[in-house]
């Protein structure tokens, strides 16, 4: 049997530890899930097993023992590894068939009739049979990922390592990816290790390992893990209890509380772990600001906004409205046009067609925007922070850009650092900080000049569960305190729950736009947002 044994494997990158010693055992036919945030150690473990990164410890597969990438060479023939990133292993200029030929050749596969049947089956499962001549660069994100998967499966690996294969992929393609996987594993008895950032996918896995800070904090079947935290999960308490976390409609506490128990999800494991390790989450509050009442009710209105890159239409006649005191979620898979839309709002990309009104004013030229700059806050994807400057220096720089007086800046920095809970990190460099902290102080940098509207581009991708939850709490409070309008993009469909209204984009087109409440009413059968969006994807 394809038996994998990982014994005390740890990985380090120059100064940093990527993975603390981990042990693991698995056999063919299983799907092992690695769940955790970016930088939690999932990729490090995969790289070690795939034999492409030096590690300490010992790995045994197929009766071969290896301690280094060099020793792993002999098992590489029976391993299939798909790294993180949409279609990362594909060559833009090569067609679908050319890819399959290339991968077959470098794996030294004999192209007999059995292989051709298998190859046709893979192409069919991936829905690529009709696109065999199309170049990879011209495929959609979902198709690229499916092509990458069948390229990885071409040599019938006994051990399949998939690093976040579904991140940023649209819900429909995600289901198809899982179908291919389940089919192959059932037939070929492949051992499959999959990492994911989506908790919901844990149910697909035979066993899951939960990662945090380079450590496995818990492992087992998803059901067992949930069982373990059931005694600590309650309906949200109206008033905060001591030593508990109240978030997203739950209260977690290690001590028994006089509250109604609530069916927990896997997220609970991370909160309970946080509670055990660090205690309750420090309270976040928002700096006080006088409400401007002369702000119009409609902050942003887009009519038929269109952006083309040559023949490619990134945004196709999109209508959207953003109101004061509203969190609007702009959802969609990678490449659906979320970032393009935000960039047009900000004037970072010229508008090809359509009309845009900001704060009631028609925007035609850069001059029209100049006046509004002071009213807009923006947090870009991956946070546009200067890596060589400390948090304090970064904040000072952004304050300076918005012409805030130096004395006032110092006061503001202290206030924001206190309320948002990053005071102790003020003199550290952003690269040394956890993503969650960077995320918070990026928001601080974007709101120090007290804007009336805040645009956030994928602020939560790759951030761990606890930090993500606190981040959404912070946005809620910001909305309530300041009556600010917030437009946020995300590819986590589940985060739609935290918005007031959502707009769903697919291939540059708007396919849904409604309040969260209405959406649930229209789709009474849906368990969660994933299901709702799947309906819209199937419709279109």
């Amino acid at each position: 049997m394809n038996r994998l044994q990982v014994r005390e494997v740890s990985v380090s990158y120059r100064k940093k530890t990527g993975l603390k010693p981990v042990s693991l055992e698995a056999t063919g036919g299983e799907i092992i899930g690695l769940i955790g945030a970016d930088g939690a150690g999932k990729s490090s473990l995969m790289h070690a097993i795939a034999g492409i990164k030096s590690f300490d410890g010992e790995i045994e597969f197929d009766n071969h023992i290896y301690r280094s990438p060099k020793e792993a060479e002999k098992v590489k023939g029976s391993i299939g590894f798909m790294p993180q990133g949409l279609g990362l292993i594909l060559y833009e200029q090569l067609g679908v068939n050319e890819h399959l030929d290339f991968f077959a050749d470098i794996r030294g596969i004999k192209q007999d009739s059995a292989f051709r049947v298998y190859r046709e089956r893979l192409l069919h499962m991936a829905g690529l049979s009709d696109f065999t001549e199309r170049q990879a660069g011209k495929l959609s994100g979902g198709m690229m990922q499916k092509l990458a998967l069948i390229c990885t499966l071409l040599h019938r690996p006994k051990l399949l390592l998939l690093d976040e294969p579904t991140t940023g992929v649209d819900p429909l393609s995600r289901m198809e990816l899982w179908d291919i996987l389940n089919d192959i594993i059932a037939k070929e008895k492949t051992l499959c290790i999959v990492s994911t950032a989506y908790m919901a996918e844990a149910t697909q896995m035979y066993r899951v390992l939960l990662f945090e800070d380079g450590e496995i904090i818990d492992k087992g079947k998803a059901g067992e893990l949930i069982e373990k935290v059931r005694p600590f999960s309650y309906e949200a308490a109206p008033e905060p209890f001591e030593n508990s976390i109240t978030i997203h409609g739950y209260t977690y506490s290690l001590k028994p509380l006089e509250l109604k128990p609530k069916e927990p999800t896997l997220n609970a494991v991370f909160f309970i772990n946080f509670l055990k390790k660090y205690g309750p989450i420090p309270e976040i509050s928002i700096v006080h600001k006088d409400r401007d009442e002369d702000v119009p009710a409609t902050i942003m209105e887009a009519k038929g906004l269109t952006k083309r890159f040559r023949e490619f239409v990134a945004n196709d006649h999109i209508d959207m409205e953003l109101n004061r005191g509203e969190i609007l979620g702009l959802l969609g898979a990678n490449g659906a046009g979320k970032t393009t839309f935000i960039k047009m709002l900000l004037g970072l990309l010229p508008i090809d067609e359509g009309e845009l009104f900001l704060l009631g004013k028609r925007i035609k030229s850069a001059n029209d925007r100049q006046m509004l700059k002071a009213k807009i806050g923006y947090v870009s994807q991956h946070f546009a922070l200067y890596k060589g400057m400390s948090v304090r220096e970064n904040l000072r720089y952004f304050a300076n850009m918005h012409r805030i007086e130096p004395e006032r800046t110092s006061v503001l920095i202290k206030e924001y650092a206190d309320t948002l809970g990053f005071y102790s990190y003020l003199d550290a460099l952003p690269t040394d900080l956890p993503m969650g902290i960077n995320q918070r102080f990026s928001v601080a940098a974007a709101i120090m000049h007290e804007p009336v509207v805040l645009f956030l581009d994928e602020p939560t991708s790759g951030v761990d569960v606890v930090a993500r939850a606190t981040f959404w709490e912070m946005l809620q409070k910001l909305k309530e305190e300041w009556n600010i309008a917030i437009l946020i993009t995300t590819h986590y469909m589940g985060e739609a729950e935290f918005c007031d209204r959502v707009v769903l984009l697919r291939d540059g087109k708007k396919i849904a736009d409604d309040t969260v409440k209405n959406l649930y009413q229209i789709h009474p059968d849906a368990h969660n947002f994933e299901d709702i969006f799947l309906d819209y994807y199937n419709l279109n």
């Binding site: 790289h47 795939a50 034999g51 492409i52 990164k53 030096s54 990438p69 060479e73 590489k76 023939g77 391993i79 299939g80 590894f81 790294p83 990133g85 990362l88 292993i89 594909l90 060559y91 833009e92 200029q93 090569l94 050319e98 030929d101 290339f102 991968f103 050749d105 470098i106 794996r107 030294g108 170049q135």
Partner: protein, 371 residues
């Protein structure tokens, strides 16, 4: 090494280079550089404003003066001035060159005694001054040789080796072989660096890392693509040199081809080394340009002959492989001694040594894992 794997990578590489239009860079850049530099660099100086002070007034001195008068490189004037007043003319920028023929010039020559001709050159532009000096040396030497027909008088003047075989003093003859040496150092290095770094940047390098493809197979496919594509440039550049720039070709074509292929291997190994320490295409591109273009330009011998370098620059010139290759190029184009000259043979061996050493270091440093 499995041929099937190499073939698969090789085929993918060529398809990729063709479809991504990188092919244009492969074939346009080298020819463009050759034509730009070939026409663009002019070290030639004409109409040097010359003052000759003839203190001898003999037949020998008249001969010398008339040679200067008949040359297009000099606008000469003969006058009797004191040395000091003549030097003032240079300071006032009225003359570029002053030649002082001493008394008893002819007498000394006849007796076989040493004599010295005073030459003052406006040194405000050092490279022009150097060129003028070379011309003057050449002209004086020529005139004396014509007169006596013997080598005896040679001791009187030092003559730069550069003019020895390049008597027509054509710029193209000096520049074009140097530019070929420069171009064939830059272009293959860039291509080989890009081919590897591109995979790193896009993430496709994981196909190599995680599959049983051997390092040797990966390298062979990558480097063969570069060797093949730029091998064609060896012929293209040759044709430009002969038909566009009308260079003579006096040496062995086989030596030209062979040494050029060795040289391309050196160049692509430089690219390989760059690809090891960089992970983005733009950095690889700029870094390769910097480390190839500067030594290539300075030490190819096209701007300044290696023989006229001094001190550290001589050592540096010998460190970079450019010098050895351009020496062979100058030989095959202009001289034609070929491998019968021991220096050419030695230089060819040195080039082979470079190729082997750089390629070995490059393949040892290339790691089949994330670093």
């Amino acid at each position: 090494m499995r041929i099937g794997v190499i073939k698969a990578y090789f085929k993918k590489e060529l398809l990729d280079i063709y479809r991504s239009k990188l092919i244009l860079m492969v074939y346009i850049m080298p020819s463009m550089l050759l034509i730009l530099f070939g026409y663009g660099i002019k070290t030639e100086v004409t109409h040097t404003r010359t003052l000759i002070i003839d203190n001898d007034q003999s037949k020998a001195s008249y001969d010398l003066v008339s040679t200067f008068e008949h040359s297009k490189y000099f606008n000469s004037e003969t006058k009797n001035l004191s040395e000091n007043r003549a030097l003032n003319l240079i300071k006032q920028d009225k003359k570029d060159l002053i030649i002082i023929i001493p008394e008893a010039f002819e007498k000394h020559l006849l007796k076989g005694l040493k004599t010295s001709v005073g030459v003052y050159i406006d040194g405000s532009f050092p490279s022009r001054a150097k060129t003028i000096e070379n011309y003057v040396n050449g002209v004086i030497y020529d005139a004396i040789m014509k007169r006596s027909g013997t080598e005896v008088d040679r001791a009187l003047i030092t003559i730069n080796a550069r003019n020895l075989f390049n008597q027509s003093l054509r710029d193209e003859d000096m520049i074009v072989p140097g530019v070929i040496g420069l171009v064939l150092l830059i272009a293959p290095a860039i291509l080989s660096a890009l081919l590897i770094v591109k995979e790193k940047e896009n993430g496709t390098i994981f196909n190599f890392y995680s599959s049983p493809v051997k390092k040797s197979e990966f390298l062979a496919a990558k480097l063969l693509s570069v060797l093949l594509l730029h091998g064609i440039n060896i012929f293209i550049l040759f044709l430009w040199a002969i038909y566009l720039f009308e260079l003579p070709f006096r040496g062995s074509f086989l030596l030209y081809i062979f040494s050029s292929f060795i040289y391309i291997i050196i160049s692509l190994s430089v690219g390989l080394l760059v690809s090891i320490i960089t992970s983005s295409q733009i950095v690889a591109y700029v870094l390769t340009l910097i480390i190839t273009i500067i030594p290539g330009f300075l030490y190819s011998g096209m701007l300044m002959p290696i023989s006229s370098m001094e001190g550290e620059s001589v050592i540096e010139a010998h460190i970079y492989p450019v010098m050895y290759y351009t020496h062979i190029l100058y030989d095959v184009f202009l001289v034609g001694d070929g491998l019968s000259a021991s220096k050419n043979l030695l230089y060819l061996f040195i080039l082979m040594g470079y190729a082997i050493i750089l390629l070995t270091i490059g393949s040892l440093l290339l790691k089949k894992r994330i670093v």
